[in-house]
């Protein structure tokens, strides 16, 4: 039994099949990359797996348990979480607070305790704070801890999102273009971070445009085109697959519909 198993997943928006009959699986510690031309349905696939969109067909299983219609917060509590392509940061909160929010499940307790600042609530908050500081060190944002998140650079925010996701101690982590907009140094940092996370046993689903990075760190690659899976396998086998090469070459001269909208 795989940790994450996706089968026959599909969704349509007003007649357009944005994703159709996509399936794959991921084991603990494995990095599975989803690649494909713009508009192939990668983010839509992520949105379905993470519970943001409700798929019309297919199943998502976590530890063999069907979690297809589960809401994002329930999935998060079961150990599946994600980052976003277009950054979803809590801009008006400090960098540290952003990560502390990631500890919500372990930190939250009785509402009354929170309202009256009872010792129990303060202890919970202290613990979450300390752990969050550790995580910030790990993504090397500890110096910016007290800054408003909105003031950070794009690359730093990408790392902040990962730190926030890690706070939940996920078993499955979906990363949507974690290196987009990052410079070479930042990309390498993220590269290392992902490899490290996988080594610690987290199954990673990765959508990324930087093909060098994808080929370097992935264990398994799933290729989408026009919402359908056209190939799957090791980085070597996929990069030699004629269908994949054709999809990538073909996407350059035809206007592809952005199925994510």
């Amino acid at each position: 039994m795989s940790l994450l198993e996706v089968s026959g997943l599909g969704i349509g928006f007003g007649g357009l099949r944005a994703v159709d009959n996509v399936g794959f699986s991921a084991q603990p510690g494995e990095i599975v990359s989803i690649i494909g031309p713009n508009g192939a349905g990668k983010t839509t696939l992520f949105n379905m797996i993470s519970g943001v969109y409700l798929p019309d067909s297919g199943h998502v299983r976590l530890d063999g348990k069907d979690v297809t219609a589960a809401e994002p917060h329930r999935l998060a509590r079961m150990g599946l979480t994600r980052t976003f392509q277009n950054l979803q940061i809590f801009q008006e909160m400090t960098v540290l607070e952003n990560v502390i929010v990631g500890f919500h499940q372990s930190e939250s307790g009785s509402l009354i305790a929170d309202l009256l600042a009872l010792p129990a609530a303060r202890r919970r908050a202290q613990a979450a704070r300390a752990q969050a500081q550790e995580l910030l060190k790990r993504v090397r944002l500890d110096k910016a801890a007290e800054e408003l998140a909105g003031n950070l650079s794009y690359g730093a925010l990408k790392r902040l999102e990962i730190a926030r996701a890690l706070a939940m101690q996920p078993r499955v982590l979906l990363l949507d273009e974690p290196a987009a907009g990052c410079n070479a140094v930042e990309t390498e940092e993220i590269d290392h971070l992902i490899a490290e996370l996988a080594k610690s046993g987290i199954a990673i689903l990765l959508v990324e445009h930087d093909m060098k990075m994808v080929m370097r760190i992935s264990n398994h690659i799933v290729v989408l085109d026009h919402g359908e899976k056209i190939a799957e396998g090791s980085p070597e086998s996929v990069s030699k697959n004629p269908a994949v090469i054709a999809a990538y070459l073909g996407a350059g001269d035809e206007e592809s519909v952005d199925a994510d909208s």
Binding site: F13, T43, N47, V52, Y53, F84, N86, Q88, S261
Partner: protein
């Protein structure tokens, strides 16, 4: 049966006014994504200005035209002075601004005019018309006819004229409209003028029946808003259907259930509709993009 017809006739009359207010909401909402809580004040201004210019000796038609023109200017000023400087502000801020504008206009009207209720003569006398045992004042026909004409004229404007299509394009996608050379600033001015004029016209038409005072705007705005929501925000067809349905529901409630709670109908309907289909009868649903 006579009673039912009577209720329906008065319901359609009131509903026509709600539909016009809702249409005003719709036009501004489409053009600028702003829900204008000062919409009811346009109706008040239409009535009040007509009353006072008519009392000053102007012939009624001229007084009415003048009232509609001045109210349009107020609408344009509202956009230029209060909303344009706050473009991109969060919804809460925009709500506060238009409510502020509504209170401001009301305060100004109370100073310039007075706090009394007023009316001017009906356009075609007050001799009631008898239809199958129900009675109808001729002014009701003016209200209903006026609303029908406005909706037809707008439909023609949006579908047959280039300007109307420019307004629709701007409503659809502001940036794209700018890119194809539409002057979106002008479209905005036009939309506010149009919306205010429609509101003022409603005020002119209905004043002989319901009277007008400086504070009638709030109630009308809320009803018009309710009608627009019921039909689905941003849809002119929805404004018409929502307005008439609300008017009918109110009249039937007043007739058969409780006249005290007739004003509650609007809000009960709203809550019910929002719970069952949050996008209204004709609204389009949206998928959040992440």
């Amino acid at each position: 049966m006579d009673a039912l017809l009577q209720f329906m006739l008065s319901g359609v009359t009131v509903g026509a006014v709600y539909a016009l207010v809702a249409l005003g909401f719709t036009i501004i909402y489409n053009a600028s994504d702003v829900v204008n809580f000062a919409q009811g004040e346009f109706v008040m201004l239409g009535g009040m200005i007509t009353v006072f210019t008519y009392q000053a000796g102007l012939p009624l038609p001229l007084a009415a035209v003048l009232a509609i023109a001045i109210t349009s200017l107020v609408g344009v000023a509202l956009n230029k002075l209060a909303l344009e400087p706050a473009r991109g502000a969060p919804v809460v801020s925009l709500i506060i601004i238009t409510i502020g504008a509504s209170i401001f206009i009301r305060g100004a009207a109370q100073l310039i005019f007075d706090k009394q209720l007023h009316r001017f003569p009906s356009f075609s006398g007050d001799a009631p018309i008898h239809i199958f045992g129900a009675t109808l004042v001729p002014q009701s026909l003016w209200v209903i006819g006026g609303a029908v004409l406005v909706f037809i004229a707008l439909w023609l404007f949006f579908t047959k004229t280039l300007t109307g299509k420019a307004v629709l394009a701007t409503a659809n996608n502001r940036l794209a409209a700018q890119l194809v050379g539409i002057n979106t600033g002008w479209v905005m001015t036009l939309s506010f003028a149009l919306s205010a004029a429609i509101g003022a016209l409603a005020g002119v038409l209905v004043t002989p029946i319901t009277l007008v005072g400086y504070d009638v705007g709030v109630g009308l705005a809320l009803k018009g808003f309710a009608a627009a929501m019921l039909g689905g925000m941003g849809n002119p067809k929805g404004a018409l259907v929502g307005g008439i349905s609300l008017g009918l529901l109110e009249a039937l409630t007043a007739g058969y259930l409780s006249s005290q709670y007739k004003d509650a109908v609007a809000f009960i309907v709203i809550l019910a509709v929002l719970f069952v289909m949050p996008q209204g009868l004709f609204g389009k649903s949206t998928t959040e993009r992440v």
